[in-house]
């Protein structure tokens, strides 16, 4: 919403600068986005260089066909020679002159210049040169009544500040200059001029409007009011300069006087109007009805529009002639030949307008207002202002009567405003007298009643002020919200804080961070192609993809079921930027669809990706590349920090290296996967350049944390009786997995064997071909006594026997 300050000042002038006005409006709820400067700059006395002139003579330039040499009078005996290129310059005209030194809106500074040998002492201006209009074909010819030599700014606003304001959706009344003036009046207490929609024009002639046009509203719910006035003897032509200047300042292109009037009324009062050429309305009859599914029409912007059954049409006897509240049709457009005008001021259903304009992708000045739900009263105010302008500007005569097909207007809302409630909600006492004064400035009717107030809501606030809380907001915002004291709630039940699960999640992230990983955050929506790119098996839960029906692009149409694609994209982004070491993790939701209609399973996952260098080369060590064992160590560290029991089982999803992948089990539940990425998948995600595919894991952090939460940490006495450490070396067939050996040892060790750690692996001459030796460190401990060498020797014997029988292993000396 744009409000030119000069226009605003016509209705309320608080004597403040544009910036100050903008600030006051911002604080009270109409946010200033920016101030645009239009027209002639006002700095350094620049307006003084723009004067009214009278063309005394205009002669053909001796050396240029298209130029005229004019003698222009500027006050009394001050006449100047001005060379002018406009075809319409002629003796006797009153014109707008810029003198040497003037700065034009585009920043050019005028000087005295020689044009084909003749010195020009200024410039006669066209509309476009000073941004008063869009006519650049010739110079402006002003009314003769203007006095030569006067500053032009006295007659027309040459330059202005335009406030660009953001009006909230509940305030249709602020979508116009007068509405903003009313707000300014309320916050500054400066006087407000009378409502420009209050005074009407006189009607003339015998033919009642109702006899000249028939109006039917088939769906009154979608069109609570459809009012029409008829104007005859209309002379369509350019608007007067002041009107053009108003529209141009706000960024509206002047069209002709009739269309300009409709726009002017909309900009001043907030009610969009539509002018029909009555002689191009078949019937003549207008009917308001819902569109048929697929019905078509060509709108004023020459676009073919296809409508559905929710849209509302205004039709004449030949069919649709406009989309109600959004845009008129091309068929009944006002033209230079138009003589009779049917002026429509209607009220539409806001939600319906919003829906139709959204579907059509057609948001107009009109729909932006109607979608906020205008009040039917406003239509008649707009008719009155339009009538006055039609008579004054286009010389029209208004037929008697108003065609008004309207639902009964509900009575004004009355709301009780309790002083104690005001204080209770705001936290500060506000005297009823102050509330009364504020509400009165906003045009509410206020009556005292038993120390409280009985408030009547003006029609233009009918939509958003319905309850006591709404009135309290009005009082608070006009009075100044920052005047409220700053207190803290008095509390009951005041213990807050993070839950154990939330703390554990932080622990998990902190642990990964501490291990040198950096956290990434990727979008939750990914390309649906990813399912195929990851080679997911049909039964894989990760194929349960929820699809966005209106994605930003096909690349972002699927809700992720795994964090891996995001991590791979992030890796690719950094690899493409010559990053050598990739150590990253993400914590975020994945979504497993339960169908498009119901909420999916949302799971909180943590994913880790390592690639490139795990540890860089240093001056005293070689680089280490991240492989399965690096991520396994990282995963073990994470799960052990959270205190859950875990193990890996062979196998893993199809996007991993088949020989280097496992499922992760926590407390016997499958919570994720770990492994090295399948080389083909790495290649498909643009990571083929890496010397080795990334090593990754992804687990359901929610589930892991839930398991961790169930764990209570109890004291275990590891201090009273010391542990005995023994190392053993077990020789087995190369094919026997380390875990099998460790499990056999554990099974044989009994309760005194407290831990088994594999700390070395040897293949070679000493054990012979096809064999390997695993070194295990065993920790023995009893909670009841100090173990003796004999105790340990006995256990060791059991272990030796078990290894021999179960894994074919022998102990190496």
């Amino acid at each position: 919403m744009k409000a030119p300050v000069a226009w605003l000042r016509e209705y309320c002038d608080p004597g403040l600068s544009s910036e100050e006005i903008g600030e006051r409006l911002s604080l009270s709820g109409t946010e200033l986005e920016r101030i645009l400067r239009v027209g002639v700059p006002s700095t350094d006395g620049n307006p003084g260089f723009f004067r009214i002139g009278k063309v005394l003579s205009a002669e053909q330039h001796p050396d240029a066909d298209r130029l005229s040499v004019c003698n222009v009078q500027l006050a009394g005996s001050d006449t100047r020679t001005i060379v002018c290129g406009a075809p319409n310059v002629a003796a006797g005209e009153t014109v707008l002159v810029a003198l040497p030194g003037a700065v034009l809106p585009d920043g050019t500074k005028l000087g005295r210049v020689k044009l084909r040998g003749v010195v020009s002492d200024g410039m006669i201006l066209s509309e476009t040169e000073v941004q008063l209009g869009t006519d650049s074909a010739g110079i402006m010819v002003l009314p003769d009544s203007l006095e030569a030599g006067e500053e032009a700014g006295r007659y027309v606003t040459l330059g202005d500040d335009v406030l660009e304001l953001e009006v909230s959706p509940n305030r249709p009344d602020c979508m116009c200059v007068y509405g903003i003036a009313r707000e300014l009046h309320a916050v500054t207490e400066s006087p407000l001029a009378a409502d420009p929609g209050s005074e009407d024009a006189p009607a003339e002639g015998e033919s009642e409007a109702g006899h000249l046009l028939a109006v039917t509203v088939a769906d009154p719910e979608l069109c609570p009011r459809f009012s029409v006035r008829i104007f005859t003897d209309v002379e369509v032509g350019p608007s007067p300069l002041w009107l053009k200047a108003r529209l141009t300042a706000i960024g509206q292109r002047p069209i002709n006087n009739v269309v300009d009037i409709t726009n002017y009324v909309m900009l001043l009062l907030g009610q969009p109007l539509h002018a029909y050429d009555l002689d191009r309305v078949a019937g003549p009859a207008l009917t308001v009805r819902r569109a048929h599914e697929g019905e078509r029409l060509v709108t004023l912007d020459a676009e073919h529009r296809v409508l559905d059954a929710e849209a509302v049409l205004v039709c004449d006897a030949d069919g649709p002639t406009g989309i109600g509240g959004i845009m008129g049709g091309a068929r009944s457009e006002v033209s230079a030949d138009t003589r009779r005008i049917a002026m429509e001021a209607a009220t539409w259903s806001g939600p319906n307008i919003l829906e139709t304009s959204t579907k059509l992708g057609l948001r107009t000045e009109a729909s932006a207002r109607f979608e906020r739900q205008l009040h039917p009263e406003l239509a008649l105010a707009a008719q009155r202002l339009a009538a006055r302008l039609m008579v004054e500007v286009s010389g029209a005569r208004m037929a008697p009567g108003t065609i008004d097909v309207a639902q009964p207007v509900p009575p004004a809302h009355r709301i009780e405003l309790r002083s104690q409630r005001v204080e209770g909600l705001l936290g500060e006492r506000i005297e009823p007298a102050e509330s009364t004064a504020i509400l009165a400035r906003l045009a509410f009717g206020v009556e005292p009643r038993d120390g409280d107030l009985d408030v009547e809501v003006p029609y233009f606030r009918d939509g958003d002020v319905r309850r006591e809380a709404d009135l309290i907001e009005e009082v608070a915002r006009i009075r100044g919200l920052s005047r409220l004291p700053a207190t803290l709630p008095s509390r009951r039940h005041a213990v807050g804080g993070l839950t154990r699960a939330q703390k554990l999640r932080r622990t998990a992230a902190d642990l990964l961070r501490g291990r040198g990983l950096s956290e990434v955050i990727t979008f939750s929506f990914i390309s649906p192609q990813v399912t195929a790119k990851l080679r997911l098996a049909p039964y894989d839960a990760r194929t349960r993809v929820l699809m966005i029906t209106n994605p930003l692009s096909e690349e972002h149409a699927a809700m992720r079921t795994t964090l891996l694609p995001g991590l791979l994209d992030a890796a690719q982004h950094n690899v493409a930027r010559d990053r050598r070491s990739l150590r990253m993790f993400e914590t975020g939701r994945v979504f497993l669809s339960n169908g498009q209609e119901v909420q999916p399973e949302e799971r909180l996952h943590v994913g880790v990706l390592l690639a490139g260098e795990w540890q860089p080369k240093t001056w005293r060590s070689e680089p280490r590349r991240p492989d399965f064992y690096v991520v396994k160590g990282l995963l073990a560290g994470l799960l052990e920090a959270l205190g859950v029991e875990w193990r890996l089982v062979d196998g893993g999803p199809s996007f991993l290296h088949p020989g280097r992948a496992a499922e992760v089990l926590v407390e016997a539940h499958d919570v994720g996967y770990i492994g090295e990425l399948h080389p083909s998948v790495a290649r498909d995600f643009g990571l083929g350049e890496l010397e080795q595919p990334p090593a990754v894991f992804e687990i359901d952090l929610g589930q892991v944390v839930a398991a961790a939460e169930r764990k209570e940490r109890r004291y275990d006495d590891l201090i009273t009786y010391p542990a005995v450490l023994q190392d053993i070396a077990v020789v087995v067939d190369d094919a026997v997995e380390a875990q099998t050996v460790a499990d056999a040892v554990r099974a044989a060790g009994g309760p005194e064997l407290r831990s088994v750690q594999i700390f070395d692996l040897y293949r070679g001459e000493q054990v012979g071909p096809g064999k390997k030796s695993l070194a295990l460190r065993l920790e023995f401990r009893s909670p009841e006594r100090t173990l003796t060498d004999e105790d340990v020797a006995a256990i060791r014997k059991r272990i030796e026997a078990r290894l021999a029988s179960e894994v074919g292993g022998t102990l190496r000396a």
């Binding site: 604080l27 959706p169 936290g427 809380a469 004291p485 807050g496 966005i548 972002h556 860089p616």
Partner: protein
């Protein structure tokens, strides 16, 4: 030494004195621990003269035994002390020498123990959570895929409401969508818990918008405080505490009137600009680029919970005539950008390590 064990008594005392003198002299010249050890053996060893003298005591006349024995022990103690003391000196000198040889180039880099980085949004989100948990709030989270009812209708945004236009929404079906704000958890939390309730709701939200100032996914923290007597002034105070904890102890907060369908009155919240100390001007007199000269920076929207919102949870203990409270919502990206001078929203989601590793 092939001396006779029979020693003349007078001679013995003389020899002991000489021994002491000699030991002192040669020890002074000894330069290494090895030499000291040799001298120890020479003067105090089994075969040393001192040992021999002491061993020969029984052969001495009884009247002399005591004197020679006493003197001999004195000399032994002296020698032991001398050797130990001198040994320490020489040992220390020797250690010093060795440490001098072990000097390394201290300027070579240490082993890399790289610390990773939490995403700046996570850090900011945690800071916000911590401020409010410190004030007694709990942290709750809700589903990102929401129903139309919780995202809009229960927040006083019925179908056809113009505010829906401002929420460019991703849909899965008519009734299922990606939440456009964290506010749906207001309703869900009130359904789950009667008043008083003090919660903050962090989480990612989605809007169908992508340009220099919008990303389709971003992060919000919502706050909700409901009890019987919570006022707009309490909101003012709470946000002042937040602003000071987040941006600095001297911050000011300004409330402007605003509009949200689920609060009434609604406010926009500004903090005093910390780039220009609220003056609106940079040091060189030009307009402050952060606050655009206004001296204030918008950080969030807030307001008193609209009675219509309570109507949706009335049966859960929220009678709008009896309870009241405030709600606020802020963008974590915006707070992070302000705190760290991050110029472009899109940086948060590009995941360029050169960006992530700065925080």
């Amino acid at each position: 030494m092939a001396e006779s064990p029979n020693i003349e008594p007078g001679q013995a005392l003389e020899r002991l004195d000489r021994l002491a003198e000699e030991a002192e002299r040669v020890l002074r010249e000894a330069g290494s621990p090895e030499e000291i050890e040799q001298l120890r053996v020479r003067f105090l060893g089994r075969k040393s003269e001192l040992t021999q003298i002491l061993r020969s005591l029984p052969s001495l006349p009884p009247d002399q035994r005591a004197e020679v024995g006493k003197r001999g022990n004195e000399v032994r103690q002296t020698l032991e002390g001398l050797i130990a003391g001198h040994g320490d000196t020489v040992g220390a000198r020797d250690l010093e020498e060795r440490l001098r040889r072990e000097r390394i180039d201290l300027t070579l880099p240490g082993d890399p123990f790289d610390t990773g980085h939490l995403h700046v949004l996570t850090q900011t989100r945690r800071e916000i959570e911590d401020v409010f948990t410190g004030m007694g709030y709990r942290v709750v989270e809700g589903p990102e895929v929401e129903t139309d009812y919780y995202n809009f209708t229960s927040l006083n945004i019925p179908p056809g409401h113009p505010a829906r236009r401002e929420h460019d929404t991703f849909y899965f079906s008519d009734q299922l969508l990606l939440r456009t704000h964290t506010s749906p958890m207001q309703t869900r939390s009130m359904e789950a818990q009667p008043p008083p309730i003090f919660i903050v709701i962090p989480g990612v939200v989605y809007r169908r918008d992508s340009d220099a100032t919008h990303t389709p996914m971003f992060t919000q923290v919502e706050g909700l405080a409901v009890d019987e007597d919570i006022t707009l002034a309490d909101l003012h105070g709470t946000l002042l505490e937040f602003a000071r904890a987040t941006f600095g102890p001297r911050q000011k907060v300004r409330l402007r009137a605003g509009y949200f369908p689920f609060t009434e009155p609604s406010v926009e919240v500004d903090v005093s600009c910390f780039a220009c100390k609220a003056s609106g001007r940079q040091a060189d007199g030009s307009l402050c680029s952060l606050c655009k000269g206004s001296g204030w920076i918008e950080i969030m929207g807030a307001g008193m919970v609209d009675p219509n919102v309570f109507e949706f949870v009335r049966d859960h203990g929220y009678d709008p005539e009896r309870v009241q409270g405030f709600a606020f919502g802020m963008g974590v990206e915006r707070i992070a950008m302000l705190k760290h001078g991050i110029p472009d929203l899109r940086l948060f989601f590009e995941n360029d390590l050169r960006f992530l590793e700065q925080f």
